[in-house]
């Protein structure tokens, strides 16, 4: 039996939208599709997972004080792989996924391709970006167990209903002696969704002039249920935290719309956002390279345009 498994990412008990594209990729004719949910109410998410074709929902329960420990999570997934004869495992290439999938692959010494934007499960072929986004590699992997990390938003979610059953899996005895989770600090000021999940990203660069002006972007992003990003110049100036950086050495994103505000558009920044569907550039400098590598460009002061856009969206 060649079963396929997907690790479902949840947020406060709810399934994040970005999982559905991954599940769409993972479906294969005649093969069982296992969805692993960790410490969540499986019954509450059953309908949603069924609508995308999950046939077995595995409700993994970990000790509450261990559930944020990626080593414990990885070990529970490995136990599931063995228990349910999983030979292909998919997870999301999100910050949490980047700390989980490679752990599973390392413990099993199994091959893994991260950040895939398409996968052919029949031949175990994955397509991913390389060389700072300048090339696309098609990679074939082989082994008893193979793993893929799926780039969020790379695949359009398509519903395909299947009936499913819930299987309980007890992982409450799994501990990690040498790697202990102490605490998680969440910045409460940030209520917006993450860069990886956002359909719209408004990003600021040197043209924002200072850190305070980023609140202009936040206000606009809020209206669009979008996220705020930043260029390396902005994070290096300590205007905003590193976690907001988009680019080669930051987050790599593929939103439907990327609005670049006062960002010149270095090769390194492009590496992080060039797969966006629509790119809108606002810059007072007409010579900024991103002005000629986008879908729409506006030569204007971002500090005037964005507040106007926010006002416009408020009345919309």
């Amino acid at each position: 039996m060649k079963n396929i498994g997907v690790i479902i990412e949840l947020d406060n008990g709810k399934i994040k939208e970005i999982n559905f594209g991954m599940i769409t990729l993972a479906r294969a004719k005649g093969r069982e599709l296992f969805g692993f949910v960790i410490n969540a109410d499986a019954a509450a998410v059953k309908d949603e997972l069924e609508s995308y074709g999950i046939t077995q929902i595995v409700a993994v329960s970990l000790a509450p004080d261990q559930q944020n420990n990626p080593v414990v999570r990885a070990k529970s997934i490995i136990n599931c792989i063995k228990e349910f004869n999983i030979c292909t495992l998919l997870g999301l290439s999100t910050p949490a996924g980047k700390d989980l999938l490679p752990r599973v692959a390392a413990f099993l010494e199994a091959p893994l391709v991260m950040d895939c934007f398409s996968i052919d499960l029949k031949q175990n072929l994955a397509r991913t970006s390389r060389h700072s986004g300048k090339t696309i590699a098609t990679i074939k992997i082989a082994g008893d167990i193979v793993l893929f990390g799926v780039r969020p938003k790379a695949v359009e979610p398509l519903k395909a209903w299947a009936s499913s059953q819930i299987v309980q899996f007890d992982g409450s005895n799994i501990v990690s002696e040498d790697f202990r989770h102490i605490k998680r600090v969440v910045d409460d000021k940030k209520t917006e969704i993450s860069l990886a999940e956002a359909d719209v990203i408004i990003a600021g660069g040197r043209g924002m002039k200072n850190g305070d002006n980023f609140s202009i972007l936040s206000k606009c992003a809020e209206k669009l249920n979008g996220a705020v990003g930043a260029s390396r110049a902005a994070v290096d100036s300590r205007w905003v935290p590193y976690s907001m950086q988009v680019g080669l050495t930051g987050e790599k994103v593929s939103p439907r719309v990327y609005i670049a505000c006062g960002i010149s558009g270095s090769i390194q920044h492009l590496a992080g956002m060039k797969t966006s569907t629509i790119i809108i550039t606002i810059n007072s400098d007409n010579n900024a390279s991103l002005m000629s590598d986008c879908d729409y460009f506006i030569q204007a002061d971002v500090l005037e345009i964005i507040p106007e856009l926010t006002r416009h969206l408020e009345n919309y």
């Binding site: 944020n68 999100t94 949490a96 980047k98 700390d99 490679p102 752990r103 692959a105 390392a106 413990f107 010494e109 991260m114 950040d115 970006s129 390389r130 060389h131 700072s132 986004g133 300048k134 090339t135 696309i136 590699a137 098609t138 990679i139 074939k140 992997i141 082989a142 082994g143 008893d144 002696e177 040498d178 790697f179 989770h181 605490k183 998680r184 600090v185 910045d187 917006e192 993450s194 860069l195 719209v200 669009l224 935290p241 590193y242 907001m244 080669l248 439907r256 719309v257 060039k274 569907t277 809108i280 590598d293 986008c294 879908d295 729409y296 506006i298 005037e304 106007e308 856009l309 416009h312």
Partner: protein, 256 residues
């Protein structure tokens, strides 16, 4: 303490990449120390200073010219370098980890092993975990803060949305350096001169007893990412511009 830093020799992110025979890049471009590894070297040197008697050893698995990257690491303060020389340009992650594990274990007894959180050429994001698994050491990635206290390492690892997880790891352990861990300490001219006198040991891959992994990963095709966008200008006063952006968001992107 012996502190090992695994470094990778990668094409400059600004280099123009040309693809040959649909499966490899033209290597006639500038190669340098992977940017995340700069943070790793800098942090290792910082720890060495705080723990007298420590030694920082830069380790690389690459072709002969990767010596340049090891010299950069030594210019930034690593005491010596180890280069496992291979003829091939690319290796899969499982093999890379086995080679790095073998050369480190042969050389000494690591108290800490650093890597960058990913490389900017293959973006595999997994070598640190594989090295950790082979040594049976705990691993943290995207580390933005590190404190060594007696027998443990306290690390902050960054998640998205500004969330930070703090972990305590027993030593020895493996650290995947993220941006924000430090500001890389770039070598001065005297550092560069000194680095040329530091010991760099070259080891042939065949001389290490490393088995080729059972599973495998092969490049089927490599192609350039060509994306031709045809920029259209949006003109008008700010009200007209805002209206047009709203139209794009609604009609073209369908996000509102």
């Amino acid at each position: 303490m012996q502190i090992y830093v695994c470094v990778k020799h990668v094409p400059d992110s600004a280099a123009i990449i040309t693809i040959l025979q649909n499966n490899r890049i033209d290597e006639n471009v500038i190669f340098l120390l992977n940017p995340y590894d700069e943070h790793a070297v800098t942090e290792a040197v910082k720890i060495k200073i705080s723990l007298p008697g420590s030694e920082v050893i830069a380790v690389c698995f690459g072709q002969d010219d990767a010596e340049k990257t090891l010299r950069s690491a030594m210019g930034m303060g690593a005491d010596r370098g180890l280069l496992v020389v291979s003829d091939a340009a690319q290796h899969e992650s499982i093999e890379i980890a086995r080679v790095l594990k073998a050369v480190i274990a042969q050389d000494g007894s690591p108290g800490l092993i650093f890597t960058g959180k990913e490389s900017i050429d293959t973006h595999g994001m997994q070598t640190m975990f594989r090295i950790g698994a082979l040594f049976n050491f705990p691993v943290a990635t995207n580390v933005v803060r590190l404190n060594i206290e007696r027998e443990v390492a306290i690390v902050d690892s960054e998640l998205s949305g500004g969330a930070v997880d703090t972990y305590e790891m027993s030593l020895p352990c493996v650290i995947g350096a993220g941006r924000g861990l430090n500001t890389p300490r770039y070598p001065t001219f005297p550092d560069v001169v000194k680095s040329k006198k530091k010991v760099l040991k070259k080891i042939n891959l065949e001389d290490l007893d490393v088995k080729t992994p059972k599973s495998n990963m092969s490049m089927v095709q490599l192609e350039p990412l060509l994306q031709e966008r045809k920029p259209k200008e949006i003109r008008g006063d700010k009200g007209e511009i805002a209206r047009e952006i709203t139209r794009i968001l609604k009609e073209e992107a369908k996000v509102i």
